[in-house]
């Protein structure tokens, strides 16, 4: 942004000057080329600042007050809420759940997505149908899929019924009622829904690899594993970066599916930072405290995704 705006900051002629010296043609051409796109971006940027940046910044300010979301005034309490967070066992548990979800979703969703992409990148006849089939869940609203899975996971739902019908009654579970299992049941739904999304991004990366490189590796006698490791994997680095970033951030701020399927239960076993933030704000009237939690979550997202982006960026350059 600074680079783009820099030309605008060049000293201009003082207002009222009779005949300012005309800028060099080359320089003027460059300035206009940079400035014009910014004027187009400005309305969207202004709206983004109005709807997201300013409210977020103002929200962060509330985290240093005792505002309850209703009172017309509030008092400054400094870092009190941040200190309380350190001793809040519920928030700590929610943080652990959030990290478990984020990392497991990131790993499994992308592994499945990559396998699906490799599968539908072959010449099998049904590849187009399969691509649509695998991608379809990603276009459904998460709340809707969560409700559907809530019914599938019910004690007498389709999953347990199917297991019973297959003579696998011993494998029937209380998918959302068992506090040891509920978190992973939620993770499974997210993986199911968004693996197709990862697949599409990987597929785009796969299709950008020139066929000549595959043919050359065939001539060199490389098998499928070696070809994947030494050709496909490095050339998919940008796709890996995008997918891993999106799934990590999505996992860290997960709310919808958890709220619909378990509301954080049973007994807080699936609470995430987002569900706790919601509950503190809208059920406990602790708006300022919940804002402090939101700030911490934001910092987590920034730090983790920043570290991940830095690492993956280096991998991309090395590739």
């Amino acid at each position: 942004m600074e680079t783009a705006m820099a030309p605008k900051a060049q000293p201009a002629a003082p207002a009222g000057s009779a005949s300012p010296p005309p800028p060099a043609p080359a320089r003027r051409f460059r300035t206009d080329r940079i400035a014009v796109p910014w004027w187009f971006v400005l309305p969207a940027l202004a709206f983004f600042a109005f709807a997201v940046l300013v409210p977020s910044a103002r929200g962060a300010v509330y985290s240093f007050t005792d505002w309850d979301g209703l009172a017309r005034s509030s008092s400054f309490v400094g870092l009190e809420h941040y200190r309380s967070l350190l001793s809040d066992s519920g928030a700590r548990d929610a943080l652990v759940h959030t990290l478990l979800i984020a990392f497991s979703v990131t790993v499994v969703q992308n592994a499945v997505g990559l396998l699906l992409a490799l599968g539908v990148n072959t010449r099998i006849r049904s590849r187009n149908v399969l691509r649509v089939f695998f991608f379809a869940p990603a276009v459904i609203t998460p709340v809707v899929t969560a409700y559907l899975w809530k019914y599938l996971y019910a004690p007498e739902g389709a999953i347990n019924a199917a297991l019973d019908a297959l003579g696998l009654g011993l494998l029937t579970q209380s998918w959302l009622g068992d506090s040891d299992l509920a978190l992973w049941s939620v993770v499974a739904v997210i993986v199911w829904q968004f693996s197709g999304y990862s697949m599409v991004i990987f597929l785009a990366g796969l299709q950008s690899i020139p066929r000549e490189i595959y043919e050359a590796s065939d001539m060199d006698g490389a098998g499928p594993v070696r070809r994947f490791w030494h050709i496909v994997r490095p050339m998919l680095a940008p796709a890996f970066t995008i997918n891993l970033m999106l799934s990590l951030i999505g996992g860290l701020k997960l709310f919808d599916q958890v709220w619909v399927m378990t509301q954080g239960g049973p007994g807080g076993a699936t609470d995430t930072l987002s569900t706790v933030i919601y509950r503190e704000a809208f059920q406990f009237n602790a708006f300022a405290y919940s804002t402090a939690m939101a700030v911490v979550l934001t910092l987590f997202v920034i730090v983790l995704s920043g570290v991940q982006y830095g690492y993956l960026g280096r991998q991309e350059r090395n590739s």
Partner: protein, 417 residues
């Protein structure tokens, strides 16, 4: 103006135009009333509004419906920003973000003590309809918590309504032997977890300590040192005795209702307002309701029963005659009757001439005999206690904590500032 300044100036003008569009309340029409209500009350509210407008053709009432969570969060935002509707749902007593005891102290509700209905509010309901001795809400329905059951299903077990704890436990076994559950329980849905405890605590706590809430407020007792311990222990005993369906933690509220309607369970412990939903799924099946016994002395049994739905008048609309007229209509015998009839509940303001649903006879009897106690959360000082109750019941059913630990957590939540 130079071309360089034209674009930013235009943007600024557009931004100012946008902000000016949102300024001002523009709602000073004297014959318009805005109402926000819980979406679960859509049918009765629509009926009341239609009747009100027929009687007051010059007044236009606009209703917005929202689910409980959305309503509570939006209402708080609207109140703090001065954009709240004239009349809106307010929860009696305390215990949730849009409850009377949280809104009245902030000056957001108009004092309704001078309204015609105020003097007709039963003495037992005043603690949850008043703040510092003044009435701030118009109660419209009265509800209770008990066992809603299918009469045919119970008769098929060769049994009658259990009047004592021993009879209840015995009936649980009988039902199990017949391949059904006596009670469907959907503890996956957090708010459902509280109902059995409330139904038991009404007797285990308030029979011996009718002033329990006052003593809690004074710090003279605690959940751990009260009948709450017996209530939670008996809740778990019911689970052990097979009173409930398998896997209550994996069963939702909706599934529990369907379970009764489809005959997999004889009944369920629920608020009376659920009766209409069970009936709609169960078709012509005849339903009944009885108080959940908690001791072997039937005369000791009490029932949770309290004002359920209520409305408040925005303090900023206190001068609006139209809004006040609508509130008065809600408190009138006609308004109460329409609301309760369409909602399948009882009127909050007693009306001896009114015919009630036979299934609610037990509740009206208990109400008339003064054998009801307000819903417990309505007397708790903050919403955290109720949420903690939800959580600990789920943890108890998961076997993650003990009853003593559960009560300690509830006590800690009660004392939270």
């Amino acid at each position: 103006m130079s071309k360089k300044l034209l674009a930013p100036a235009a943007c600024l003008a557009a931004a100012l135009a946008l902000t000016s569009c949102s300024g001002g309340d523009g709602d000073d029409a004297g014959n318009a009333v805005t109402v926000t209500a819980n979406s679960t009350d859509r049918v009765p509210v629509d009926a009341v509004v239609a009747a009100f407008q027929e009687a007051n053709p010059g007044i236009e009432v606009t209703v917005t419906y929202a689910d409980t969570d959305q309503l509570q969060s939006t209402l708080r935002t609207q109140l703090s920003s001065g954009t709240a509707p004239d009349v809106f749902t307010v929860w009696p007593g305390n215990g949730n973000p849009a409850a009377l005891q949280l809104l009245a102290p902030g000056g957001f509700l108009a004092d309704l003590s001078g309204a015609g209905f105020a003097s007709r509010i039963p003495e037992g309901d005043r603690p949850v309809t008043e703040y510092e001795g003044s009435t701030y809400i118009v109660p419209v329905t009265y509800s209770g918590i008990g066992v809603i059951y299918g009469k045919e299903a119970l008769a098929a077990l060769g049994a009658e309504e259990p009047a004592t704890w021993s009879e209840l436990i015995e009936l649980c076994g009988t039902a199990r032997d017949e391949g059904v559950s006596l009670l469907a329980l959907g503890n996956q849905t957090p708010w459902v977890t509280q109902l059995v405890t409330y139904a038991l605590a009404a007797t285990t706590v308030y029979t011996d300590t009718p002033d329990f809430d006052e003593r809690m407020a004074e710090g003279e007792t605690s959940f751990a040192d009260s009948g709450w311990k017996a209530a939670l222990e008996q809740y778990l005993e019911m689970e052990e005795e097979g009173c409930f369906n398998d896997d209550p933690l994996g069963t939702s509220y909706e599934a529990s209702v369907s379970s009764v309607a489809q005959g997999r369970a004889v009944g369920l412990v629920q608020v009376a307002t659920t009766l209409s939903q069970v009936q709609s799924e169960a078709g012509d099946a005849e339903l009944g309701m009885f108080a959940l016994p908690a001791t072997d002395d039937a005369d000791q049994t009490l029932m949770p029963g309290s004002v359920s739905a209520a409305y408040g008048l925005n303090a900023e609309s206190a001068d609006s005659e139209a809004a006040m007229a609508f509130v008065e209509f809600l408190g009138s015998p006609e308004g109460q009757d329409i609301y309760a009839t369409e909602g399948g509940t009882l009127t909050a303001l007693p009306d001896e001439e009114r015919e009630t649903d036979p299934a609610l006879t037990t509740l009206t009897d208990y109400q008339g005999q003064g054998r009801t106690v307000p819903f417990m959360d309505q007397r708790w000082p903050n919403p955290r206690v109720q949420q903690t109750h939800f959580t600990v019941v789920q943890q108890l059913f998961a076997g993650d904590i003990t009853v003593d630990e559960a009560l300690a957590e509830m006590d800690a939540a009660y004392r939270t500032e």
